[in-house]
Structure formats: C-alpha cells, structure tokens
C-alpha cells in the first residue's frame, strides 16, 4: 500500500508544524522520518494515521483520498512512543483488542493472538499485565497489537526512543527482519540518524516543518543536500572561509569547487567528516595542514584523534582505522599533517543558524 502526501500544512496556533509537505512512500517501503524535535516528523506521522487533521493538503492511500476519513476506518497500525498499552488488560487482551472490536470468532482470535505472540517472541506472557513487562517487551506487545488486525500500513512514533542502547539495537534489527518477512509499508519517526540509516530503505530528513532531503540512506549520507543535513547526520568539522573562482580558501588550504565559478569572493562554509581526513607524518606538497595531536582515543572500532592547527587556532576531529593508527604510532604532542580527502562546501547564505 503506497502513501501519497501532497502539500500538507498543519498549524498549531502561531506555530507552523508542517509547511506544504509532499511525500510519496512506495508500497512495501520501510521509511524513516528523521529530524530534530519540533521538525514536524511526528505531526506528519499522525496526519498519515488520521490522528491529526491537516489544515491543508491531501493524503492518499494507494490513490484513495483519505484526508477526511476517520482514523478508525483507516486500517492503520500505529505504535505510540510510550506504547499506549491498555494497562487494565493482559497482554493477550491487548493483542486481541482490534480483533474483538471486529467481532472476530473466538477460535480465530485465539489462533491469531497466539501466532502474533510467537512472532514477537512473547509466548507464555499472554496473561501478564503491561506493568509487569520490560520496556522492550512492551514495545513488542504494542507492535503485535498493531499487527493483529493486518493493517494496510504500520506507523511507528519513535519506536525505540525509550529503550536502553542494547535492547534498542536488537529491536532495530528485529524490526528490519520483520519488515523483510511481511512487506507491510512502514513509516517510523526517529531523531537518531544511526537508527534511520541502519533500518530504513528510505530516509526523509525534516527541518522546521519542511522536508530537507529524501533519498536512500547511501544517497543522503554521500550527497547531503544542505549544511543542515550534513550537520544532522553526525559529528562533522566545520570551517568558515571564502569562495572565489571555483576555489574554496580556508586558511592556507585551497580546495577546488568548480560548481561555484563566480568571480567575487563570498562567505562559505566547509564541512569535513572526521573519517574523511587523513593524517600524515610528512609535509608533502605544502597543501597539507600542520597540526598538533591533542588527544587520542583508541577505544572502539575507530581511533578518534583530536588535532589542533596552531597557525589558525582550529581544532579538528579525525577518525582513523586502527591499522592506520598503529602505523602512525601517534602520541599526544606529535606534529603531523592533516589532509582532507573530501570537503563539502555550502554558500553561507544557504543556511543560517
């Protein structure tokens, strides 16, 4: 079931939560709405579910206009951020709720609930109450409850937000696996870029009620459309400089930027990801930046190094492969040379903080 959203606008008093948002979710897709709080991602999800009514714009399911359809008739599975399990009902009754509302025969209810409890690996916990479950178990009950009625799509609001890191990691992989088995169109909201990139087929980055960029995780990561996306997708080094004649000048370093060929000098900002900087022992051809090693953290899959350019007063975060780190044998205080392998430049008026 595909979802089409066209020019959806939503205001809460003076605040514009969504500003003419248009989005297509292909059938069977697993899509992440990614953005900081207040970016409108949850509002968009609730409008898709019908829990919030758009001031303007159209929502279609597979071509059917559902803009004015009541949420109870939309056959959407919605998983709330804090699960919203019925606290006075057992796990079994929670999962059975949607089926009982539809007057499903008892035998069928029992079979379906059993099947779902198996699917979410909660067999034997049917008689427990929500208050007696862990966070991860509650989340799975919420998912089973939403799936029990065979919804046309699954919408999840910050599904792993309230869980601890290890459980979150497990549930993420499990959700991906579940989606691969069932192929139900799924949209989930998150503020965690790692989560979005790990789980989703498509990522939609939102900012201040608008879609900043939409694409595959690879696309968005490799070709961030704006400084905001660049910034949001994780730690990045930021430098301010001037752009002129297709070259970006930051300190003594010049980087070619043929897209911008204007003759006058303009303010621009360069973004360099920590893993896209190399450190060298030798000065090379003079375009390398002399830096001093401040701090080395070799714990983890990458070695994080913090270096300082004493000439310009910039500090720079660098991530090295452990082998490379061993080769360089860096010690705090060492003089080395930084070589940016990939620099992304945005004109300063593109993005004002």
């Amino acid at each position: 079931m595909s979802i089409h959203i066209a020019n959806v606008t939503k205001r809460f008093g003076e605040f514009t939560a969504l500003d003419k948002v248009s989005l297509d979710v292909p059938s069977g897709d697993l899509l992440a709405l990614l953005g900081p709080s207040g970016s409108g991602k949850t509002t968009l999800l609730r409008i898709i579910a019908g829990l919030e009514h758009a001031d303007d714009g159209v929502v279609r399911y597979e071509g059917e206009d559902v803009t004015n359809k009541a949420p109870k008739d939309r056959e959407v599975g919605f998983v709330f951020q804090h699960y919203a399990l019925f606290r006075h009902m057992s796990v079994f009754e929670n999962v059975a709720f949607g089926l009982r509302i539809r007057n499903t025969p008892k035998a069928e209810v029992n079979a379906r609930v059993k099947e779902l409890l198996h699917l979410v690996r909660l067999e034997g916990l049917g008689s427990r109450y929500p208050a007696q479950l862990s966070g991860g178990q509650r989340q799975r009950v919420a998912l089973a409850r939403a799936l029990a009625v065979r919804p046309r799509m699954l919408l999840l609001d910050e599904p792993f937000g309230a869980l601890d890191a290890k459980v979150r990691q497990e549930l993420r992989q499990w959700l991906r696996q579940l989606h691969d088995e069932m192929h139900v169109t799924t949209v989930f909201v998150t503020h965690d870029q790692e989560e979005a990139f790990e789980v989703a087929d498509h990522v939609v980055v939102m900012r201040a009620g608008k879609i900043e960029q939409a694409g595959s995780p690879q696309d968005v990561f490799d070709h961030p459309a704006s400084p905001f996306v660049m910034d949001f997708l994780g730690q990045v080094n930021v430098f301010h400089g001037r752009l002129q004649d297709g070259q970006m000048h930051v300190g003594n370093i010049a980087v070619n930027y043929p897209e911008y060929t204007h003759a006058e000098s303009r303010d621009a900002t360069a973004y360099i990801r920590p893993h896209e900087v190399e450190l060298e022992r030798l000065p090379g051809d003079g375009t390398r930046l002399p830096v001093k090693v401040l701090h080395v953290n070799p714990a983890g899959a990458v070695t994080r190094v913090r270096v300082l350019s004493e000439a310009f007063g910039w500090s720079l975060n660098v991530e090295l492969r452990p082998e490379r780190y061993a080769e360089l044998a860096l010690r705090p205080g060492d003089q080395v040379f930084a070589v940016p392998k990939r620099v992304r430049v945005f004109m300063s008026d593109d993005y004002a903080i």
Binding site: K72, E75, F80, A84, L85, F86, I101, R102, A131
Partner: protein, 288 residues
C-alpha cells in the same frame, strides 16, 4: 498506580521516629484531643440522644411521623438523581478539558469550581430568581404548568449545583495523568467512540469515578443551604432530611430531630466505609 489528587497513600516516612519522646506524646495527645472534641464526642452524642428513649421510640420517630418518613424518602430520591446527572456531567467535562484544547478552556476549568466558592444560599437564590414565579422563566413555566421552585425539580437542581465539582474534579487529574494515547490506540485499532469509552476510558477511570460518586453522594444527601431556599420548607412535600432535622429541632422535638440526624450521620458513615473499602480494593487489584 492511578494518581489520585485526593487519595492519601501509605505513610511516606518509614523507620523509627527521631523526635524526643515528649514531642511524640504531645503531638499524639493533641491529635487525639482535636479528634475527640470535634468528631468522636459529637457523633456519639447524636446517637446517644437519638436512642435515649430506646430503640422502639427511635424507630417510631423515624417511621411513625409521615413528614419525617417523607423527608427520608425524598432525600433518597433526590440525591441519586443529582449524583447520576453529575456523573454524566463530570465525565463529559473531564473529557472535554483533558482531551481537547480550545479557547476558554481555563475559564471553564475555573467555572467548574465555582459551586465550591459560592455560598449554597446564594446558589439557591439564583435558582429562585431564574425559575421562581417572578423569575426569568417563571411565566413560561407557569404557562406550561411546570413547577421547579418549591418542588422536587428545584431540589434536584440545587443539589446538582452544589455537588457539581465533585466528579469532574476527581476525574480531571486522573484523565490528565493517563493521557490520550490509550484512547487513540483504541481508535487506530478500529474502535468507535462508545467502544473506546467502555473498553478503555472507563476501566482506567473507574476508581476515580467511584470515589467522586461517593463524595458527591455524601454531599448531596447532606445539602442544606441551597435546598433550604428553593424548597420552601413544605413539610411532607419538599422537606429533605437535613431540613427535617432543623424543623424538628426548632419545634423542640429533640429526640425526633436527633433520630433523623443520626440516620443522616449513619448514611455518611456508610459512605466513608465504602470509600475505605474501595481504596483497599484498588491497591490490591492493580499489580505494580
């Protein structure tokens, strides 16, 4: 589990007291003294006076006098009606105030509390001014041959007004704490408004609701001021139990007056006992 504004929970501080012994003794003595003077002695006194001529006379005071018997029946008729209407109003108001945001929401919240702030006598007068023979709606009511003031409908209205806040006040914090998510979840699972209310909302608010009903009922049976004004004080017609107590007292018929008073007290005690039982049930039922 369910947060409840008016339900005190088990003692917060555990462990041995740290105050000197004389402070402990003094505080306990003060508490016992106040309770004895203000509550225990008067309550015992009421029953002592009521029963001073023996159980037979007591029973006769209650059932032998047609006007007294009518007052008892009237109170047991008016109070439940007022309670039921206030339950409907309370649920609707709590729903509106906790599930929707609209201009004037704060004003409405304060308005619900108004009956607590206004003297019941003023409330009664207001009803007379609206529905009395010379009131705003008086001529229309007369034309339709309907009587509100000096009649049972007036008693119900006055009782309702005075007890209006109890159920709503009890439910608003409960519904606020529970939040709308469970109800929305029910809707996304295909429930209509009724199904959502009966299967999700009501089970979640039932303790708060029962508590509100009990408080509301206690107040409704005991209401004096507002009812006094709208009833016209007609023996055998519009006298409720509290009014009957006062009338018998004014007539120096003390044993009969205390007999009715003791029954009223007994009804309140039943209410309080019910409340305590409910609180215990509630704590047992909800697993942590």
């Amino acid at each position: 589990m369910q947060p409840n504004s008016m339900t005190p929970h088990s003692a917060i501080r555990r462990g041995p007291p740290t105050e000197p012994l004389w402070v402990q003794r003094l505080l306990i003595a003060a508490a016992v003294l106040v309770l004895t003077v203000l509550i225990i002695v008067p309550v015992i006194n009421i029953f002592a006076y009521a029963l001073q001529d023996g159980v037979g006379a007591y029973w006769k005071h209650l059932t032998g006098d047609a006007d007294t018997w009518h007052a008892i029946k009237l109170t047991l008729f008016v109070a439940p009606i007022a309670v039921v209407l206030n339950v409907l109003f309370g649920i609707a108001a709590a729903w509106l105030l906790t599930r929707f945001s609209f201009p004037g929401r704060t004003l409405l919240t304060s308005l619900i509390d108004l009956p607590f702030a206004v003297s019941p006598v003023v409330a009664g007068l207001m009803l007379v001014l609206l529905f009395g023979a010379k009131g705003w709606f008086g001529p229309y009511l007369q034309a339709a041959n309907m009587k509100i003031i000096f009649a049972t409908p007036g008693l119900v209205l006055a009782t309702m007004f005075v007890t209006l806040p109890f159920v709503a006040r009890e439910l608003i914090p409960v519904m606020q704490a529970i939040g709308p998510d469970e109800e929305l979840a029910a809707i996304t699972l295909g429930a209509n408004g009724w199904q959502m209310f009966w299967r999700v909302t009501l089970p979640n608010i039932k303790w708060g609701l029962l508590y509100g009903v009990i408080l509301c009922n206690g107040r409704a049976m005991g209401e004096f001021g507002a009812v006094y004004v709208v009833s016209g004080h007609i023996a055998g017609q519009t006298d409720t139990m509290p009014l009957r107590v006062e009338k018998l007292f004014q007539d120096f018929n003390l044993p009969a007056s205390f007999a009715v008073a003791s029954l009223l007290t007994l009804l309140s005690l039943v209410t309080i006992v019910l409340k305590v039982i409910l609180e215990n049930w509630k704590d047992v039922e909800v697993p942590e």
